[in-house]
């Protein structure tokens, strides 16, 4: 399918909370392009794509804060390099700033490799969008993602020379601004672990106490962990959940200490971590057997949900195809903000699942895609 034409024309107005008239947007970034789907019920979707054919799409951000919908996309061609594009008309047209939204300043001597994360900030900070990139770096935009500025506090961090590269590259892949405090931001990097700033990004401290690093001689170093994904609890911004490279954890003190919540899961390895957008204590993971066996346990793909902050987990597999030996990558999963919350994820085997009931049941909405790298869902209104 061609890029652009064929996208349903929708009036991208903000959702005012009345989801009975909502349109649900599902964006799927793959290794060879992006697909965009719209649905009135999160069951039947109309998809267009591939957009950006032959470009990998490792990051997508859907910004619905401004009374409109902006889709921001990290695009990377193996030949022509990385860039950031955005669309304000649900993918009908794309804009790429002439000089690039994210480019390293000359004095760094660095070049952008890949945009791993595009994260719009909270609703009371319009225009602020964060990005996490490879090489390990965090960026902040104040103009809705058209131009980003390198965070120097992290770029000049004394730990930088000791941060390593995970299999996918050395990147800051998670950026979580706190809704409670504009000066508090948590990030996660592979490898390096969780870092936190409480001064708006001027300085960053490692916050990995309790998180294991089984691949290092020191099993619990100050930093160096390979934290795969972190999500923030909606009810208490000081509570966060982490899927580690071996280990699932929760912090109740803003990242100062972490405790295992892996009991009850079939495996503590995995890449994803999702938190409910409103309800405290609810999170989702997709377990993978182990570092040395990167398939779902027994080849049976399943999502696991906790409603008590990790004390117990429920296995959710209704509607998932069996068997499935494919991994769900760290950003290939998303929740929306509807009621009940939708849960969406895609596999490296190219199947995308949607749930309109918080994961209790799923249905495949796309199959046969290239490896799914990123999934984002939103309510965009109608």
């Amino acid at each position: 399918m061609p890029l652009g034409p064929g996208v349903a024309r929708l009036d991208p107005m903000a959702n005012n909370g009345d989801t009975s008239k909502s349109t649900y947007l599902l964006a799927v970034g793959t290794k060879k392009g992006m697909w965009l789907g719209t649905s009135a019920d999160r069951a039947a979707y109309t998809f267009t794509g591939p957009h950006f054919l032959m470009n990998e799409i490792p990051s997508i951000g859907i910004d619905t804060r401004n009374g409109s919908t902006r889709i921001l996309v990290g695009v990377r061609s193996e030949h022509w390099g990385p860039t950031v594009a955005h669309s304000d008309d649900l993918g009908q047209t794309w804009v790429e700033p002439d000089n690039g939204a994210i480019t390293f300043p000359p004095d760094t001597g660095a070049a952008l490799e890949r945009v791993w994360q595009i994260q719009p900030d909270t609703g009371d900070r319009p225009g602020v969008v964060w990005a996490g990139c490879e090489p390990i770096s965090v960026w902040k935009s104040t103009d809705g993602g058209e131009h980003f500025e390198l965070n120097r506090g992290l770029w000049d961090h004394p730990h930088r020379s000791e941060w390593g590269a995970g299999f996918g590259g050395a990147a800051a892949h998670t950026v979580l601004p706190s809704p409670a405090d504009p000066n508090t931001i948590h990030i996660a990097m592979s490898t390096g672990g969780v870092y936190r700033s409480t001064d708006g990004g001027a300085s960053w401290q490692p916050r990995n106490k309790g998180i294991g690093a089984g691949f290092m001689p020191d099993a619990e170093p100050e930093f160096g962990q390979c934290v795969h994904k972190v999500a923030r609890d909606a009810g208490n911004p000081g509570v966060l959940y982490a899927q580690n490279h071996g280990g699932v954890y929760r912090t109740d003190d803003n990242g100062d200490t972490w405790t295992s919540i892996a009991e009850g899961l079939p495996a503590d390895f995995g890449f994803t971590m999702l938190a409910h957008p409103r309800r405290a204590g609810t999170a989702w993971v997709v377990p993978i057997t182990a570092d040395s066996a990167r398939i779902p346990p027994e080849g049976q793909l399943a999502v696991h949900r906790t409603d008590d902050a990790g004390a117990t987990w429920a296995r959710l597999a209704d509607g998932l195809l069996e068997p499935d030996f494919n991994v769900v990558l760290r950003d290939a999963a998303s929740v929306d903000t509807a009621e009940p919350v939708g849960v969406f994820f895609g596999t490296r085997g190219g199947t995308v699942y949607a749930s309109g009931d918080e994961g209790s049941s799923f249905a495949p909405v796309l199959t046969g895609l290239p490896d799914v790298l990123c999934v984002r869902a939103a309510v965009v209104g109608l």
Binding site: M54, S77, E78, H79, W80, G81, T83, E96, D98, N99, G100, T103, F104, P106, G109, A110, A111, L112
Partner: protein, 96 residues
């Protein structure tokens, strides 16, 4: 006019206004490949970012041929370009 002809691959024509080739005055644009790319980039900045990263390095899987020779086997982007030359920008064989 002492010109150089730069052939644009089809995949990059959307960022050169659809143009298949660009003719540049060598004297005005300078005399190295980097100078030529700077001159093109002034008019087509996205083309420049596709071919070079922000450090000015030629992207790993982009090849440039000067009169049929791979510039990586010459003097890279410092290679001198004479009037009447033909510069061909191509993507290398990579990916899967």
């Amino acid at each position: 006019m002492p010109e150089v002809n730069v052939l644009i691959p089809s995949l990059l024509r959307p960022v050169t206004g659809g143009r298949e080739e660009l003719r540049l005055d060598v004297e005005a644009a300078g005399a190295t490949l980097a100078d030529l790319l700077d001159a093109i980039g002034a008019q087509y900045p996205v083309f420049n970012r596709r071919v070079r990263d922000e450090t000015g390095s030629l992207r790993r899987f982009v090849n440039i041929y000067l009169d049929g020779d791979d510039v990586r086997r010459l003097d890279g982007l410092k290679t001198r370009v004479a009037a009447g030359s033909e510069v061909m920008v191509m993507q290398s064989v990579a990916g899967g």
